[in-house]
């Protein structure tokens, strides 16, 4: 019998272009306190803690060790860290709860993109011998993908602009979002992508609490049960991938049970408008599904927390009774190389 595990609390920062006045720890502490307060738990009550971040944003090795101080890590805690988006930290915590070694888990992800040039920084995650020395940046790579979609007749520039305006209009209702309301589509950054097709650069953090079985019901009126969660990676080289498709997303969704019944909500980690086109196809999302009601990554993209926020936003809609079955997606790597899909459900009403 598999253990039932749910998201029982979610919190995030107000995502902003810069946060010079705050260290990473100072940025994190309010969201950590927020999720703990929502559940009434103290750090010492938590069975397992896991975080996601990357040293490269902070520009120094072991940056996550300082952030851990924000959890108040004494007495010693059972804790781990993935050098990935916080969504994968949630996956690690989910497996830990499945073993029965813990009943609750605190998961957080954070990133400050403001101190450097995130476009340049992300080039460092490319193949270091053949690709990285050419410094192709994240917008240029996304533009290749967008052009491939346009060439294949799957979208066009007005449709992409539509994705941008719909996302930012939705974000009007999200007080945490960085870009909200009517945002100009702007000039080309790298053809065919315009400013409006790209995510804002910003700093932010998010935290989630997971709980198993009855513990989840005690901590949350309407827990968001994780019915399935899976993630898959593809080849790194763009030359061996069909950039108009995302087989890893499709496979992860299949394994997570996403296609067994329709979802009413989908929170997609698509930093570029064109990537929503790819993901909608892979996830077979029709127009009846509410896609990125939070505004998605086009409204706020705190790198390393954006994927975790998708799970949190999907769960929060279930907590509030605005969704019964939601899909959340996170991505990592250039042009959607690695993808995670989670299916969340509330108890029947």
């Amino acid at each position: 019998m598999t253990r039932e595990i749910a998201v029982v609390a979610f919190a995030q920062t107000d995502h902003r272009r810069t946060s010079d006045e705050h260290s990473e720890v100072e940025m994190l502490i309010p969201v950590l306190h927020d999720v703990l307060d929502q559940t009434g738990l103290k750090t010492s009550d938590i069975g397992f803690t896991c975080s996601g971040s990357t040293d490269y944003l902070a520009g120094r090795a072991f940056s996550f060790t300082m952030a851990l101080d924000g959890v108040g890590a004494w007495p010693p805690i059972s804790e781990s860290h993935v050098e990935m988006d916080g969504a994968w930290a949630l996956y690690e915590a989910w497996t830990k709860l499945l073993t029965g070694d813990a009943d609750t888990a605190l998961v957080y992800g954070y990133g400050k993109s403001s101190p450097g040039s995130v476009r340049d920084v992300l080039t460092r995650q490319l193949d270091p011998y053949y690709l990285a020395p050419l410094w192709p940046d994240s917008v240029a790579l996304a533009a290749l993908q967008a052009q491939a979609l346009i060439d294949a007749g799957e979208t066009d520039e007005p449709a992409l602009a539509g994705v941008a305006s719909r996302s930012r209009a939705s974000a009007s209702a999200n007080s945490h979002a960085q870009l909200r309301g009517s945002v100009a589509q702007g000039d080309y950054v790298v053809r065919p992508l315009r400013t409006g097709d790209c995510p804002p650069i910003g700093d932010g953090a998010a935290a989630v609490i997971l709980a198993a079985g009855e513990r989840a019901r005690e901590l949350c009126e309407r827990p968001a049960w994780i019915r399935g969660i899976d993630h898959r990676i593809e080849a790194h080289s763009l030359g061996v991938r069909d950039l108009t498709d995302s087989p890893s997303t499709r496979l992860a969704a299949e394994r997570a049970g996403a296609f067994e019944r329709p979802v009413d909500t989908a929170e997609l980690h698509a930093p570029f408008t064109s990537q929503e086109v790819v993901l909608r196809k892979s996830l077979r999302l029709g127009d009846e599904v509410s896609v990125n009601p939070s505004g998605g990554a086009l409204a706020a993209n705190p790198v390393m927390a954006t994927g975790l926020i998708r799970i949190g936003e999907a769960a929060a809609r279930i907590h509030r009774g605005e969704s019964d079955r939601a899909l959340a997606h996170a991505t990592s790597g250039p042009c959607l190389q690695q993808n995670l899909v989670a299916v969340l459900e509330g108890d029947a009403r």
Binding site: M1, T2, R3, T49, T54, D55, Y56, G59, R60, A61, F62, F64, T65, M66, L68, D69, A73, W74, P75, P76, I77, S78, E79, S80, H81, V82, E83, M84, W88, E92, T95, K96, L98, T99, G100, D101, V121, L122, R124, Q125, L126, D127, P128, Y129, A132, H231, R232, I233, E234, A235, H236, S237, P247, S248, L251, S332, G333, P334, Q337, Q338
Partner: protein, 388 residues
Amino acid sequence: MSKEPVAVVGIGQTKHVAARRDVSMAGLVREAAQRALADAELTWADIDAVVIGKAPDFFEGVMMPELYLADALGAVGKPMLRVHTAGSVGGSTALVATNLIAGRVHGTVLTLAYEKQSESNAMWGLSLPIPFTQPLLAGAGGFFAPHVRAYMRRTGAPDTVGSLVAYKDRRNALKNPYAHLHEHDITLEKVQASPMLWDPIRYSETCPSSDGACAMVLTDRAGAARSPRPPAWLHGGAMRSEPTLFAGKDFVSPQAGKDCAADVYRQAGIADPRRDIDAVEMYVPFSWYEPMWLENLGFAEEGEGWKLTESGVTELDGDLPVNMSGGVLSTNPIGASGMIRFAEAALQVRGQAGDHQVDGARRVLGHAYGGGSQFFSMWLVGAAPPAS
């Protein structure tokens, strides 16, 4: 609810050296992974997921290298997780992989950790200035030397103990074909005559800087039944963390290490580690950490660890062998160092450790730590399946 038992059925590592200029990072990790698969007599198709770990990305200058390494590790189309918990990462990576099996998410998982230190400069990677924060520009030795001093003062240990550990570990390394340092002419006098780097730590009492990778194939009960060679069974595993710096911290014997060991012993049903555990492969980057960890892990009373070392108990033919492989003092591809400890523990209980095999090793502890004695990960493996 009960967990699925976890078994180690394949172990592979590279010959650790100062610089593997003949391979890329992808080539290095693939070599270790293929050896682990060969040991398990499995193919890439038998692997359900890959869990990879290494120390800071700045050590090689590649951000999130798992993205680029996915192809080399046969991970395309599979789940791939990347763990990073500082120096303990090799151990933590293995434990994350065990959870995938124990929680019945997957049947067979490849786990691997590596460091290719020659691609960059680890000292630089650790010394990037942090605004408004005291930098540790003295390197790792400068950070740990005062804690060794504190241990000596607290216990009254004679200043010869550190060199005994180094002499033992370097001799053990001569029996391990994968070890980095093979100092055939090593003598105790040579260790004691080596230059003082960070008093009381001498040059020969420090770890080298290595390129290397270590991989293991972990599987469930059904997978273990098909294993061509004896599996090593997981009896307990745990991680603990505490802050690097805070007023109440005991740098000589951190609470996180004690708690981590206690959790592992509870899971494994170990009442008296000194009696119930046959050998220990522990993370000793500076020689004095052997007596310090002997106490922290409960093998000796406080203040008594150095007596075990001095009396030869921790020698390869002693009553409680420590660092049979030659340890971190002989081989240190940082990100892989923790996993090498875990893998050595598994090799020992499988009876596959070759010239550094401990006769009758049935239960062996693998230990890793990282940060400023901040992160701990440990596992205890046995020749027999766990009781429950």
